[in-house]
């Protein structure tokens, strides 16, 4: 038995690292991002692993949200945004000429800080994406809606009111609806930008539990300002500061004994 296996027996946690580090899902090589003159990300290179949760931490303006917006090319919508270097999903550079951005966004779902359900029924919120991608069969849509809501741990609460408005749900339910909507098109990667910052502790706990479940089927990348949340739910943590990736590694190490003094100072609240 290896040391890793022994420690996983002791801690009662699954051996998160075995195998996964060989399975790189998202990788960057010298990634730079500019908004006009502003140099937002500076030569960022690292790998994120399939079926793991990677948390991005760092003070406001450090580039962590900008980074995740590169992964589904949402920065394309910002005038003057320019990316150099490589951002690889399954080994393919998503910024290479000829990349089908619509197909990419289907593979990469996103959940935002504030729950933003569409002003339509719960059912239509979930069915919106699949319909956009050409699913018209009612039974198939019913299946997708049910499965997505089950995935997002919302089915039991809303199964009797699928026709009512999504905006009528509580904040925590709305955010789970948005997660269900994001996963309805069965993406491989789920990007979450501070998904619980507008929620109460109980709703936050439900979302965190959901994230742990979701990683079985998705690679999750989450931006959070809550260090304890990153420590609770992520397998790997990346610390950004002023556009640079300062330290990246296993969460258990980053939050107990990071290698970089700046990481240690940040997580203990000496700055930021």
């Amino acid at each position: 038995m290896t040391n890793i296996a022994v420690s996983s027996v002791i801690t009662g946690r699954e051996d998160r690292d075995a195998g996964t580090e060989k399975d790189v899902h998202i990788g960057t090589r010298g990634l730079d991002l500019y908004y006009g003159e502003a140099h937002v990300l500076k030569s960022v290179s690292f790998d994120m692993y399939r079926s793991s949760v990677t948390a991005f931490i760092g003070p406001s303006g450090c580039g962590k949200s900008s980074f995740i917006r590169c992964v589904n090319r949402m920065n394309d919508f910002i005038a003057g945004a320019r990316v150099t270097g490589e951002l690889l999903v399954d080994g393919d550079d998503i910024y290479a000429p000829g990349t089908d951005v619509i197909a990419l966004r289907r593979r990469v779902g996103m959940v935002f800080q504030k729950p933003n359900p569409f002003p339509m029924s719960i059912y239509d919120n979930i069915a919106y994406g699949p319909r956009l991608f050409g699913v018209t069969d009612k039974d198939q849509l019913d299946d997708i809606v049910r499965r997505s809501l089950e995935w997002a741990a919302l089915w039991e609460e809303v199964q009797d009111k699928l026709g009512s408005s999504g905006t009528g749900l509580s904040g925590g339910q709305q955010q789970r609806l948005c997660i269900a909507r994001a996963i309805a098109t069965e993406p491989e990667i789920l990007l979450m930008d501070e998904p619980t910052s507008a929620l109460d502790p109980l709703s936050t706990a439900r979302i965190e539990e959901l994230i742990r479940d979701l990683k079985k089927d998705f690679t999750v990348v989450i931006v959070t300002h809550n260090m304890q949340q990153a420590a609770r739910i992520s397998d790997y943590t990346a610390f950004f500061l002023m556009g640079e990736l300062i330290e990246y590694g296993k969460t258990s190490k980053i939050f107990t004994a990071p290698d970089e003094a700046r990481t240690g100072d940040y997580i203990t609240g000496r700055f930021g």
Partner: protein, 227 residues
């Protein structure tokens, strides 16, 4: 996290670390006074050490409670997390040292009115080395000095060697005359208690290195290197 929060973390932990140093001094005093009482067969001092154990236990409990409250209040990470968890363990180590002082004091009471089968030389020397180790350990903790903590590892080797010497000598004496058994048995217990106290200080010194550097070290690795 605001600057005020950081100040509060430091103020709260400072309170805990002051009390840990106090516990260290109290436990160390209990142990060294018990050896002092043994050398002179001073019953009053032995009684005083035994009676002084309760405040020591209370202080240990206080530190544990404060560490728990610190964890709940600040949810510490990084060095703060290492420091508060290590401090909880250190308090237990120090409390055990106090208990050894009580054990040695009981030996003193058992030897009332008797004369020693041999002059006490190595046991007081063990107590001296222990005092040096304690001073070094608490200073290393107070000043966050991992190099000073590592010096404790070497000193522990000296205590171990002295304990072996005491055992050898007492075994030989018992083999020569079986009626020396009872006292020899008690004195071996004293040497063993001092050796264990040294081990607890070594544990604390290891944790000081961990708090300061984030790296776990083992004293035995340093001792081997020295040999």
């Amino acid at each position: 996290m605001t600057i005020d929060t950081r100040k509060q973390i430091e103020a709260d932990f400072n309170e805990i670390s002051r009390m840990l140093l106090k516990l260290g001094n109290m436990s160390g005093e209990a142990l060294t006074r018990s050896v002092w009482a043994l050398e002179r067969l001073d019953m009053a001092t032995a009684h005083a050490v035994i009676e002084g154990d309760d405040p020591l236990d209370d202080l240990t409990e206080w530190i544990e409670e404060k560490c728990m409250a610190f964890g709940a209040r600040h949810q510490p990470l990084g060095r703060d997390l290492r420091a508060v968890l290590s401090t909880m363990h250190m308090a237990v180590d120090l409390e055990r040292i106090g208990d050894y002082g009580v054990n040695i004091s009981r030996v003193v009471l058992a030897l009332e009115g008797k004369s020693f089968i041999k002059p006490l030389l190595d046991i007081p020397r063990m107590s001296e080395v222990f005092s040096e180790m304690l001073h070094c350990t608490l200073n290393a903790y107070d000043t966050s000095d991992p190099e000073m903590a590592k010096r404790v590892f070497m000193m522990d080797g000296e205590i171990d060697a002295l304990e072996k010497q005491v055992m050898r000598e007492l075994f030989t004496m018992v083999l020569e005359r079986a009626d020396r058994f009872e006292q020899a048995f008690l004195l071996i217990g004293v040497a063993r208690a001092l050796e264990r106290a040294g081990d607890h200080l070594t544990n604390i010194a290891e944790r000081v290195v961990y708090i300061c550097t984030g790296k776990s070290v083992r004293a035995s690795d340093f001792k081997k290197r020295k040999q």
